[in-house]
Symmetry: C2
Subunit: 151 residues, 2 copies
Amino acid sequence: MTFAARRPAAGTRDAADGYRLDDQVGYLLRRASQRHLAIFAARIPELTPTQFAALARLNQMGPLSQNLLGRETSMDASTIKGVIDRLAARGLVATDPDPEDRRRLVVSLTEAGRALFAGLAAEALAISEETLAPLTAAERRQFLSLLRKLA
Amino acid sequence: MTFAARRPAAGTRDAADGYRLDDQVGYLLRRASQRHLAIFAARIPELTPTQFAALARLNQMGPLSQNLLGRETSMDASTIKGVIDRLAARGLVATDPDPEDRRRLVVSLTEAGRALFAGLAAEALAISEETLAPLTAAERRQFLSLLRKLA
DNA sequence: CCCCGATCATTTGTATGCAAACGGAGTGTG
DNA sequence: CACACTCCGTTTGCATACAAATGATCGGGG
């Protein structure tokens, strides 16, 4: 005796009943991102994760054109523009025209930006640790490995 | 002969050099969410993932107050308001005052909303599958299990 | 019964994030 | 050299997200 006999023959009804929001990867990703954001905002209130990502990439790669920096940090052209505008307004990055290509706007870290990043990098690593705290060390490695395949 | 001798003695410089953006869980979560969103938008262009989540929860739980629906879908009060406003403008949900508590706004699925959800549920499951496609079946189970612990 | 704290919905301000369209600038081809 | 194609930066419009403040309402305690 199963429940199969109670199911309607058509497909849509089955799918609607079988859809469990709490099991969907998109919903879980959104929730995990929200939790991470809360941890980040609590420990580094002066920057957002995206702003910090831009500083980190500039620190790692040196000056980059605005659009390229966007690609290197997974932000589209309009998003990176807003991020750079806000960082520039606070004096953390400088923007200069590229003499070799007049379309380009070269973004570079200022000394203040470099110092801020250097002072916060350890805290940023601690944020990643706290985000992964519910997992054991082995689970963290496994999770990051799988997550990388989806990114 | 290692590189250790070239490292400065202080801590901040070490942390700045040791910070690899591409290894940080927050960055990877953002990228995975972006990929999922692109898949969702391509396959269900008429709804956003959050809008679909609200319909799914209403389909599962029945009518709910607006704030409670927000909690049940991990959206704060101002976010869920905008989502419900847009769904209501399209006739997919109805909002009525709660006679038992005049603070509350009861949100319920309309027939159109119920039909739309039923018609899209199978596609939504396919979206989850496509998002997880880079993983094997065993990896998917493992990944979802770990992700749930972080959400 | 009145007050106090909690809850509900709303509004405002700020910050991603994506789509689409635009003009300016490089590049390669015929 | 002219043209098409591409890239760069910008702008607009829309949709999450969160913080903070507000006003209305509900609940319980004194």
